[in-house]
Amino acid sequence: MDKENHFVKIIQENQGLIFKISSIYTQCKSDQEDLYQDIVYQLWKSFGTFRKESKLSTWMYRVALNTALTKEKRRKRSGLKIPIEKVILKQSEAYNTEFEERLKILYHHIHHLNSLDKGLILLLLEGNKYDEIAEISGLTPSNVGTRISRIKNKLKSNISK
């Protein structure tokens, strides 16, 4: 398989991951689409240098989270704040208003976290273990553990408010 088709296949298989990262780091549809595009673009740019020393998912998380964090920093500097318009999932048969409502609440809580915490909770929710999260984020596993327990407490107190 040539490089182009291989890349397209990887993007197709992992589009959900890109969607989730782009939606937790943005608050409106246009920003999310923009970030999605940027992540795909940055993945393509670094695809040539991906040497399979790390897992494909680790490489994707790293590139995607770095892109999201850089973009978020730039957006914060420009002072732009746009309210949440809607949760950006396309409708399917299983989709219902109750699910939409739960997603809204979920995004609401995650959007309240700081940039690094958003990334860590995403990696945790995606089912990664602490050492995997450490490898992706560049933190030590014990630091990841401490931070995640703090995030959980923060989320708990936000939820109970």
Partner: protein
């Protein structure tokens, strides 16, 4: 919502996303295309604002043109008007041309050649505009002096501070233009990078 519920909802969302239609190769390529276009959209926005200011000034000069009652004020007025009206239009057309390059439907080598030509044209226009802004600055002073204060700029006595202010403004203008051209070069170079990367695709 409890933490467990967050985890459950996240899992459900992941399942939903798995089910959704997969991105086609064409859409992925279009994302890169859109990225190229976005580079120039920002440039176009700033140029549109600049053009609007130029047109407002042109309107003011045109409306009061009959007040320019000597041959040299006429010359200054016409020169200022020409630059203020023509330069923004040429610049906007050049940006539109470079922005609408159909990089998906022509081979990327062709796109790169076309892009390089249009980029040179755009940068040449910018450089001409930069050089022209100095004489426009000088010719607009007598025109504005006549229109706003009804005074002949050339016959009014001027003190040393007037010349100091002109030099300071000129220096400020020089740095502003240098910065502006730098921005243009950065944007056009990064758009060129996108085309080169698409070429590798």
């Amino acid at each position: 919502m409890e933490l467990e519920e967050i985890q459950y909802t996240w899992g459900q969302m992941s399942l939903e996303l798995e089910k959704q239609k997969r991105l086609s190769k064409k859409i992925i390529l279009e994302m890169m295309h859109q990225k190229y276009k976005n580079k120039f959209s920002r440039l176009l926005k700033f140029e549109l604002m600049g053009a609007l200011i130029c047109f407002v000034f042109s309107g003011l000069i045109l409306y009061n043109f009959s007040r320019l009652d000597t041959w040299y004020l006429w010359v200054c007025g016409i020169f200022t008007l020409l630059i203020l009206l023509v330069m923004p239009i040429i610049t906007l057309m050049a940006i539109q041309q470079i922005k609408s390059l159909d990089i998906l439907n022509i081979s990327n080598k062709d796109a790169l050649i076309k892009y390089t030509k249009t980029k040179s044209y755009l940068l040449a226009i910018q450089q001409f505009g930069a050089y022209a802004s100095f004489p426009v600055f000088l010719t607009s002073m007598p025109v504005m002096s006549k229109i706003l204060k009804n005074k002949d700029f050339f016959s009014v006595s001027k003190d040393i501070w007037f010349y100091v202010m002109i030099v300071l403004f000129g220096v400020g203008l020089y740095f502003f233009i240098k910065w502006g051209i730098g921005c243009y070069k950065r944007i056009t170079n990064s758009a060129e990078e996108i085309l080169k990367e698409l070429d590798e695709y």
